[in-house]
Amino acid sequence: MRHVLEKELQKNWSSLTGQTRAPEQLSLLQIRGTDWKASRVHFAVIDPTGQPLFFAKVVRDPQQNAQLEQEYHLLATRLSHGNGPKPC
């Protein structure tokens, strides 16, 4: 999963960060989601100075996760009011 996520982040790097070029090797810290029953794992994407750029949320199980979908729409709605990156 980490490999897939890395590829996706590389592909969408400019829309996510506003930077033109993604680093060759991304700094990712895998973090267990706080509530494991919600089937989430977080990946913090870290910039070279050690500051988090954003968090990627991933579902543990392949089944559709309703709670995560709800969060996605909430996040998308919030972000659509500003100029921030769109969740992907």
Binding site: M1, V4, S27, L28, L29, I31, R32, W36, I46
Partner: protein, 310 residues
């Protein structure tokens, strides 16, 4: 369930005589009754069984590039901590363990969770019934350090090498071996925790012969559960024929990986130190921050997840 060995080998912290009762409880009354029994009776080693039901204890699996065509071998599968979550995202999992009671328990879990793609097998690493190049991935979660105990006539390192070579044969050309294991000089073994294999302080840090003398004196057996530093693992895996190695650092330990970063990822390590270590383990934070200035903080990661390819 298939069995390829006829021995009464038993490995596990849970007492062997309790296993039939636990299996019966799980079979007839379900997982809630089993958990309640384990918690009320406070059985030694109950955590291993309880944690095998928690999907987050298998989070190391996200490092693997698995898909619905992948065929996986879980060597030393235990109660299915990794085998069950992995089976949900791949084609087939062959779950092998040398302890009959564990395989029996896993077989029951497979039935209860209705997972048709797990094949529980009672066998040892030396008599695996598979042909060469059969697997996309082989998982050894907390197993490699123990294999030295299985062949007493050879040195533990030779036995570990032999096990790694056997895995290499079983892997497909692009397959990956996943090994989760302690770091010989992990920070917690420097002063805080006992060596989890010998149950004594400092044995992993001592020279092997001295460690063996200590365990013979205090535990009446030789020290055969070898762990290594990162460089030691590199040498071992290279000697076994693996050319591509990736190291990851799970924290606080590989059995319960709350945070995982790539070995040598300085930015992720800095963020981890400042946000997690400073808040949760201040002594480790001070120690690692000091070493980070010298670029040496990685040396003392408590354990490793190693991804090895041919």
């Amino acid at each position: 369930m298939f069995s390829f060995v006829e021995n009464d080998y038993y490995y596990g912290k849970l007492p062997q005589q309790e296993m039939p009762l636990l299996l019966d409880l799980y079979q007839n009354k379900g997982v809630a009754a089993l958990k309640a029994y384990l918690n009320t009776h406070k059985l030694r080693g109950r955590r291993v069984l309880l944690n095998s039901f928690r999907a987050n204890h298998a989070d190391g699996r996200f490092l693997l590039a698995l898909d619905l065509t992948s065929v996986v071998l879980d060597l030393g599968c235990g109660f299915g901590t990794l085998a069950i979550p992995i089976a949900k995202v791949c084609k087939e999992v062959f779950a092998v363990d040398a302890t009959f009671e564990r395989v029996q328990f896993l077989a029951q879990r497979v039935e209860c969770e209705d997972l048709a793609n797990i094949i529980p097998i009672h066998a040892s690493v030396w008599d695996l019934p598979f042909s060469k190049s059969s697997f996309d991935c082989i998982v050894m979660n907390g197993v490699l350090e123990w294999v030295g105990e299985w062949l007493a006539d050879r040195s533990p390192r030779e036995v570990q090498l032999k096990a790694l070579e056997r895995c290499r044969e079983l892997l497909k050309p692009s397959g990956t071996l996943f090994v989760a294991i302690e770091n010989r000089i992990g920070f917690e073994f420097l002063y805080r925790s006992r060596d989890p294999h010998s149950k004594l302080y400092f044995t992993s840090l001592l020279p092997r012969k001295l460690a063996s003398a200590v365990t013979r004196l205090l535990k009446h057996k030789s020290y055969r559960t070898y762990t290594y530093t990162r460089r030691g693992y590199q040498r071992l895996f290279r000697q076994a024929g693996y050319s591509h190695l990736e190291f990851y650092c799970p924290w606080p330990r590989y059995q319960d990986p709350r945070y995982i970063s790539r070995w040598g990822d300085v930015a992720a390590a800095r963020y981890f130190r400042k946000t997690v270590l400073r808040a949760q383990r201040f002594d480790e934070y001070v120690f690692c921050s000091g070493l980070a200035r010298l670029g040496l903080d990685w040396l003392f990661s408590p354990s490793f997840i190693i991804l090895a390819q041919k």
